[in-house]
Assembly symmetry: C2
Homo-oligomer: 345 residues x 2
């Protein structure tokens, strides 16, 4: 099967945006603040809202998308810690409902109620809730909850450790994914996202996180930011910093998705990064939705680029499209195995 590990709910019903407006209006006028229960979206509306994703998934030969709230929508820097917490649970609940209604198409990944300056450990109750109660298979972790000011601590800092302990206990990976940028130097999808991917990887080179958490797993999206293109630089910097070879230091725990929107980029990724560390993804419907005039196909139809790489054998393709995802997201694997057992019974 073909598992796309990086899809966001970017086609939410309008009611969610109106709820968010009232939530933020509530900062200025508490009387306007809505109760979470006031958000009414029917199952039919939810199913209808993800038809564009399902259509593209099927047209492109995909089977299952790991589905999480809109990345730019997390906006951890907006409002207050309380606002962020309510907003997070509302968004996660919608993901839960979509994935429960359409379990053949979607598996749930959640956002965390991060807030600038607040301890990552404050996210633990929501992490436990979505994994233990709602069956989520992973989380998105924002390495810069300040939204482009980078005022917090590197992801190797000990302040993150309590969260990592619970991630390891629950056996869920995190995709390292920033949200929108409130720094006008950084375009969100054109600079902030890619910079964050690069920054996180370099923080991991400098640190020794996986000595402390040998089973912790991170997925770096958008093809790993600049990292595979500068793989020689990163190998050389690790060497200068007296770190082990990257294969030993990081590649047991760090994985890259395939959200690279042209063939030469995908070719580089697949040449440079070991197959075991590459997970199929498209971020559809996401950052780049247009049609490439050079190919006549959608930029984000990433399966086409992988299909075009003649040097990949069948086993490598299986790993990229399915095997690695089942290994990195063990709860997804169990979910799929249970489903297969159910249909066999």
């Amino acid at each position: 099967m073909i598992i796309d590990i990086h899809g966001h709910y970017t086609t939410e019903p309008a009611a969610l945006g109106l709820f968010r407006d009232r939530q933020l209006a509530g900062l200025a006028d508490a009387a306007r603040r809505p109760s979470p229960g006031s958000l009414k979206i029917s199952d039919e509306e939810l199913i209808e809202s993800v038809q564009p994703q399902i259509k593209k998934q099927q047209e492109r030969g995909g089977d299952l998308t790991i589905f999480s709230p809109r990345a730019s929508g997390m906006a951890h820097h907006v409002g207050s810690a309380d606002i962020s917490a309510v907003w997070t649970s509302v968004c996660n609940d919608l993901i839960h409902r979509v994935c429960t209604l359409l379990p053949q198409n979607f598996a749930p990944v959640g956002q965390l109620p991060q807030f600038p300056g607040r301890a990552p450990s404050e996210c633990i109750p929501e992490l436990r809730r979505i994994v233990e109660e709602l069956g989520f298979v992973g989380v998105n972790l924002n390495p810069d909850p300040s939204g482009g000011h980078w005022s917090g601590e590197p992801i190797t800092d000990r302040s993150w450790y309590p969260l990592y302990e619970v991630m390891c206990e629950l056996d869920v990976p995190a995709m390292i994914h920033v949200s929108s940028s409130c720094n006008h130097n950084f375009h969100a999808t054109g600079a902030h996202y890619i910079n964050a991917d690069t920054t996180a990887f370099m923080q991991l080179i400098q640190g020794d996180l996986f000595k402390d958490f040998p089973t912790l797993k991170f997925v770096i999206p958008h093809g790993g930011g600049a990292v595979p293109y500068h793989w020689g630089r990163y190998r050389g910097l690790a060497q200068e910093l007296k770190r082990p070879l990257l294969a030993e230091h990081l590649l047991g725990n760090v994985f890259f998705d395939t959200c690279v929107y042209h063939l030469p980029g995908m070719e580089l990724l697949a040449k440079v990064i070991p197959t075991d560390n590459i997970l199929f993804a498209s971020e559809m419907l996401g950052a780049v939705k247009g049609i490439d005039p050079e190919t006549g196909h959608h930029y984000d139809d990433t399966k086409r680029y992988i299909d075009a790489l003649a040097f990949l054998d069948a086993e490598q393709r299986y790993k990229i499209f399915e095997g690695n995802a089942r290994r990195v997201y063990p709860r997804l694997d169990r979910r799929l195995s249970a489903r297969a057992a159910d249909s066999a019974a």
Copy 2:
């Protein structure tokens, strides 16, 4: 000839570092502040100090290096605007002396006396001095003088325009190059440099700078940050933002160097970016000085990677190694032509 457009003076005599210490000590105790004239470095010491660069230049088949002050040493965010101005002229004067002593090996590029929150126009007197009086062929322009806090304006902002007007008048390009990072999220050479390259390019996509300055030229170093690897993403984002095709929108004015430290990365760069926009560079002795255990050669011996690209023909090689540099740096071209005329006479 082989022109390396990206070399920094990273082997400065110890006296320069001591001068800097006293200069910064002068912030706490004005009595310790040195006069610029107190820095004494002899011509012999200068010549001796750049022998490592000359040795590597010759071993690797290079002829001339465009030479500028140490990038991390610019540290525009440190001290005060006055400190930054004195430090800049001291560093530029040393570059001038090295390039005057060894004109066969080096051509001068300068740093600017930028400071967070200060208008770029304050850099104009030093820009005029180094180009008009000292014969510099270009400048390094720091898109984030705050050193990793990105507290200033995008490079497309009108506050930069007075500086660009003078750059166009003088016909000098700028390399967009940040300095050290005082944000502990960003390793300087592993994250801040690469992020800045990516960020600057995306700012240029969003803006319309070259409509206002059709002759302005920017070199984006480190192989363009993440840009060539994500060329599909950038073409797609330009399309979504209703910008012209990147070839029309930016490629008449924006160039990438070849500081990419492994063969697959260089291959991608040369495949994706038009040859007219690629300028040979190594940043030697710079960010990554070690030997790659996978090849037995230095990571930053970038000429080897280009030599290995069988798909480049002789004309393309000429452009990458010499022709593009002479076009992008017209004052370098004139300098070389004058030198050739002198030796012929």
